[in-house]
Symmetry: C2
Subunit: 132 residues, 2 copies
């Protein structure tokens, strides 16, 4: 069962410029900038306002999927992250209906468990499933 | 002040096929299919699960922005709709900080007031502001 939108991921060319825009012009509050280096290296920061959280993502690898997204689609919305109660139950239920996943075994990221539904299974929407 | 994500808009080639996927495979519940014909004509349906609502959108005009999105970026996430308390206050506050809008005067849509932040003001993110 999907509960809520945990965050929406946005790919940007320059994280510092994007952060300035989201905080100083659009009124969001920023958390700490992090560097992720599991598979693909990228810089990332969460910005929040009310119940809305966006994850700004700047690729650091020249050949990864995030850089590829930036080159082929340009800056913009990259994925939606959906919070679920039980990620393994979702993998089983959705898998049995033919939905494909990028990781069959959820990854541990910052105290959460995550996987991605394959965009071919969602008509082009990159959908992260996340369990707190 | 932005309160929450009202919905995420997803452009699809074929609304009936997408609806089948979201309802029968991904477990969403659908509302009624509507045809919008203000400016650009498109078919649309809201699908929900938990607190998550997605708006599936199929273009019906050969020359509109939605068809153009489909041709240049392919099926996928098109916009995020952010619920605000007072849309005119947001237009004033954000406008004073240099943020541009697609409509300076909010449009009435199904009992709500909406406008869009210009993607140039959000680094490529098409952001709808919506007041219930």
């Amino acid at each position: 069962m999907i509960k809520r939108i945990h965050h929406v991921g946005v790919v940007v060319k320059n994280l510092d410029e994007a952060l300035d825009l989201y905080v100083n012009n659009l009124g969001f509050k920023a958390s700490k900038i992090m560097i992720a280096d599991k598979g693909e290296k990228f810089r990332t920061v969460m910005v929040s306002q009310g119940e809305v959280t966006l994850e700004l993502i700047e690729p650091m690898d020249e050949k990864g999927g995030i850089q590829n997204f930036l080159e082929t689609r340009g800056e913009g919305i990259h994925h939606i992250s959906l919070e679920v109660d039980d990620i393994r139950a979702e993998l089983n239920t959705l898998g049995a209906r033919g939905i494909k996943f990028l990781f069959k075994e959820p990854e541990q990221v910052e105290g959460t468990l995550v996987t991605f539904v394959h965009p071919k299974s969602t008509r082009g929407v990159l959908m992260e499933l996340l369990q707190e």
